[in-house]
């Protein structure tokens, strides 16, 4: 490359402003301007500029955030509720027992032997024997049929063993139930945990619904962001052409749009978190009353800091992906002509 002849010295020194103390025009063509920004600095600048650009259209941006926030809040709230119910199914203490009705004439020694066998099992927390006499006394106290009972020749009640399982996990319960039902001397094994089974079925059904809903609505968010970015690309077409002609790489042209997508997503995630907190607040009263009546943990638990952060990051990634889709489809098509 040719050296540039040193021109621009014709002007008297006095006229030179601060700017020209070292005349930037003196060097050869293509001479470096100065320090280049690092990769991180460039991204930082673009990120901030993209955010400011979004905020310069507050109404449009807030609307976009709301659309995404509501779409994300729905599956988020549902899965929060389900997480609480699932936790509940693990922790109900009092409610979960098995009643073993023993054969009526079983000798006390064999009753005790059954109690001992059951007590030794690891999946059993507590075993309590209710003899027919105790059962009768309890019945008299609570029913008020004293006269009727006094007229009976013998005690019609069988001995009962009440077993409290160690945990209410499904595997443990099923194993224990089939074990006790097959025990010699046990007439009927009855579980008052049937409601738990039903709850579990409903929860697992609803979980699938939540996943499906989450998937579909995330796809919706992806498309909404993609479309928003497509419009942004369209409205900046002239700028993109000029930038490409003065040497902007594809990555440089795409970057602000990708960051816009990221900010749209993150904002939507924030709205979703707020909405799901609102949902919890509204639901917590009825929930406490319902679950409290079953003797469960009546408090509705929120998302927690870590999960909340994960939701935010997830939403931001979703936004970035939506923008990426749009950028890949539309940005390359804009070429200087």
């Amino acid at each position: 490359m040719a050296r540039a002849p040193r021109r621009d010295r014709r002007r008297p020194e006095a006229q030179r402003t601060e700017v020209h103390r070292s005349d930037p025009w003196r060097g050869s063509t293509g001479a470096p301007v100065g320090r280049k920004l690092s990769w991180f600095e460039q991204h930082q600048r673009t990120a901030v500029e993209s955010l400011l650009r979004l905020l310069s259209d507050p109404l449009g941006t807030v609307l976009a955030w709301l659309v995404m926030g509501i779409a994300l809040a729905l599956p988020l709230s549902l899965s929060l509720l389900l997480a609480n119910l699932q936790g509940l199914a693990q922790n109900v203490d009092e409610a979960g027992t098995l009643s073993l009705y023993l054969e009526a004439g079983l000798e006390p020694m064999r009753q005790q032997a059954l109690v001992d066998t059951l007590s030794q099992r690891e999946d059993v927390r507590e075993v309590r024997l209710i003899t027919p006499e105790e059962a009768l006394a309890e019945f008299e106290r609570s029913s008020g049929f004293n006269d009727v009972l006094a007229g009976l020749d013998s005690n019609p009640l069988p001995p009962v063993i009440v077993v409290t399982p160690q945990s209410l996990e499904e595997e443990v319960l099923v194993g224990l139930q089939s074990y006790v039902a097959a025990l010699d001397g046990v007439d009927v094994a009855e579980s008052d945990l049937a409601w738990l089974e039903r709850l579990r079925t409903v929860v697992s059904l609803a979980s699938r619904l939540a996943v499906l809903l989450g998937f579909m609505l995330s796809l919706g968010v992806l498309l909404v962001i993609g479309n928003t970015i497509r419009l942004a690309i369209e409205s900046r077409r002239t700028e993109i052409v000029v930038v490409k002609l003065v040497g902007g790489t594809d990555a440089y042209v795409a970057r602000p749009f990708l960051y816009s997508g990221l900010w749209y997503g993150a904002g939507g995630g924030l709205v979703a978190l707020f909405l799901s907190a609102l949902f919890l607040f509204v639901m917590s009263g009825p929930y406490s009353r319902l679950i409290g009546s079953y003797g469960g943990d009546a408090e509705l638990h929120g998302l927690g800091l870590t999960n909340g952060f994960l939701v935010l990051v997830g939403a931001a990634v979703l936004g970035w992906l939506g923008a990426k889709l749009s950028v890949v489809r539309h940005l390359r098509a804009i070429e200087p002509r």
Binding site: M1, A2, R3, A4, P5, R7, T17, V19, H20, D23, P24, W25, G27, S28, T29, G30, A31, V33, G34, R35, K36, L37, Q42, T238, E239, V241, V242, V243, K244, L245, V246, G247, G248, T249, D250, Y252, E335, P336, R337
Partner: protein, 223 residues
Amino acid sequence: MIRFDDVSKRYPGGQEALSHVSFNLAAGELAFLTGHSGAGKSTLLKLIMQMELPSSGQIFVNGQNLRKLSRRQLPYYRRGIGLVFQDHRLLFDRSVFDNVALPLTIAGYDPRDAARRVRAALDKVGLLHKEHQNPASLSTGEQQRVGIARAVVNKPAVILADEPTGNLDPKLSAEIMHLFEQFCGVGTAVLIASHDLSLIRKLHHRILVLDQGRLVHGMDGDR
């Protein structure tokens, strides 16, 4: 600096926009490219910018064979060319300063370092005092000068201008042309497409004349 080697360009319709064009423009040389509309001026500039690819022949710019340029290299190649448009193509969503800074921002320069160069370029075109204004508030002539400042701000090896005086009156046109004359002095090759024959004849520079895609005047050694 710019060398065309038997370059032809045919468009898919079969129309031949350029036919066997060869010339060599040296560093520090200024040349005008002229001819009737449709003679191939725009096509020739587009070939240099790699907005179009030649059908045959080879083009060398700044020592680089454009045939060997990949899509990835294209932006870096374009950074070495300053382009001035007839309609200036300034961005009205930012200040004059930011418009001129655009090529440096794209190249990733530190804004503090770039600012010196931007002010110098604006000073060259006499618009330093308007750096904070929006280009929309400037006159057509001033807008074109901002466009020129943007084209020269990173001291490109080549400056191309496509009808830079197309929308200007004769006095402003002459001013703009004098501006270009200053830049070829610093080792830059300047190629200006213009059909303002009365103006360019007065300026005593090489004139490349295209007629129906053929270079009919201004070949090397043909002055």
